[in-house]
Amino acid sequence: MPPPNKTYPDFASAVADIPDGATIMIGGFGAGTPHNLIKALYEQGAKDLTLILNAAGTGRDPGPGPAHVTPSTLIEARRVRKAIMAFTASTHPSRTTPVEELQEAGEMEAELVPQGTLAERIRAGGAGIPAFYTPTAVGTELAEGKEHRVFNGRTYLLYEALTADYAFVRAWHADEFGNLVFRRAERNFNPLMAMAARCTIVETEEILPIGALDPDHIHTPGIYVSRIVQIPPDGIFHITRGPAGGAAQQGR
């Protein structure tokens, strides 16, 4: 019997069953963000969501096109009950984010986690490990109330693993079984989240027949993937910062 074909015809059908109250991991670190799935979720209407992601984007100045829907757009629409992130504030102190504003107003909960701890909590969740110790954040405000333990003379903090109902993942190539290959820096959180969710939904530039990907070169095995959608020609492929603006942003 051949493996199942996990291809969905469009993003709307791939996210249709996501209920209110779902916990969703969203991959991406600038590059590798599943913009089309985020947009489809926004249009689908689910609320009281818990999001687990690196950062939500500013959500400001959404512009006329759907290309500008970010996790912050969901947050501004009061659809998110809680977010677990490495940035709740902007990296630039002069800007504020919707998460900060809603958190200060008591309208949503936000848990701030150091990025390496966030990645490892997701990895642990996908690997069946309930918790782990890390030296990161010892001696800081974040360590208050956390279990401390000394190993070989160094102090560590206990953090629990994270899992989710759904993961939104962006891959470069997939085959019909859901084997995934990521390109360059688009990998980031994506393979970790694919393993940590009960239902992993993938958007990809191209779906290939089974057998087209070399088993040695697959980053995420298809057993972790439930649904795959190929980004259509009018879909969102990349949202980038240009190099010119880059230099300005970086300080020139």
Partner: protein, 226 residues
């Protein structure tokens, strides 16, 4: 050089000066903001591996408009080029490099640095609930050493080099070197040792903009790239 015009150092100069501290064979992480400029100023006669939180191991300078691709970006998500020896891992493995102590240096931006080496760079007030930690706490806690790249004073002219940090800290006692637009400084417990000063500035002038005692290094000089 007595006739030299007295201006604070540019961001490019600050980045180039701190990059000149990178030693041959070092694995270096550059933080979001000014530190990522260092990738344009790596010492040509040394082998440096630039590591990024998003999994790039062995990237290089910032890409031009023609060279940029949406797939290859640094920690600030700006396009960069890969070195021929580059490899790519996922986010958890990128932080395995950090947490296991393999970074020789992390270069980070900061709001404040204490004379005891404390770093504050994730929160702009004690009262605020939110913050921007990103990878900074992991890097600060686990790298072999931390260099800071920041402006010497706030926009209101208040000092950022202090006896003790006022803001919540990112990690305790980790900063080894601070490059500002007024010079190069080392935390020494009670204050800061001035190794180099921006051209035209005297120790007294820089002291007036510093919130902890400044001590001149025995060989204190003008800022020199190398």
């Amino acid at each position: 050089m007595a006739t030299q015009e007295k201006t604070r150092l540019t961001r490019d100069l600050m980045a180039a000066r701190i990059a000149a501290e990178f030693q041959d064979g070092w694995i270096v992480n550059l933080g979001v903001g000014m530190p990522t400029l260092c990738s344009d100023f790596l010492p040509a006669d040394r082998f440096i591996v630039l590591h990024s939180e998003n999994g790039l191991i062995g990237y290089g300078r910032n890409a031009t408009v023609e060279e940029a691709t949406p797939y290859v970006v640094n920690a600030g998500t700006f396009p960069v080029l890969l070195q021929p020896f580059a490899s790519i891992v996922h986010h958890a493995d990128a932080f395995a490099v950090i947490r296991s102590g393999r970074l020789d240096v992390g270069v980070l931006g900061a709001y404040e640095v204490g004379a005891n080496g404390d770093l504050a760079n994730w929160k702009t007030s004690r009262e605020k609930k939110g913050g921007g930690i990103g990878g900074a706490m992991d890097i600060a806690a686990c790298a072999q050493r931390i260099y800071v790249l920041m402006e010497h004073t706030t926009r209101d002219g208040k000092p950022r080099l202090l006896e003790r940090c006022n803001l919540p800290i990112t990690a305790a006692g980790v900063v080894k070197l601070v490059m500002t637009d007024l010079g190069l400084f080392e935390p020494n417990g009670e204050g800061f040792t001035a190794r180099e000063l921006a051209p035209g500035f005297t120790l007294e002038e820089v002291q007036a903009l510093t919130g902890a005692p400044l001590r001149p290094a025995p060989d204190m000089r003008e800022v020199q790239i190398r």
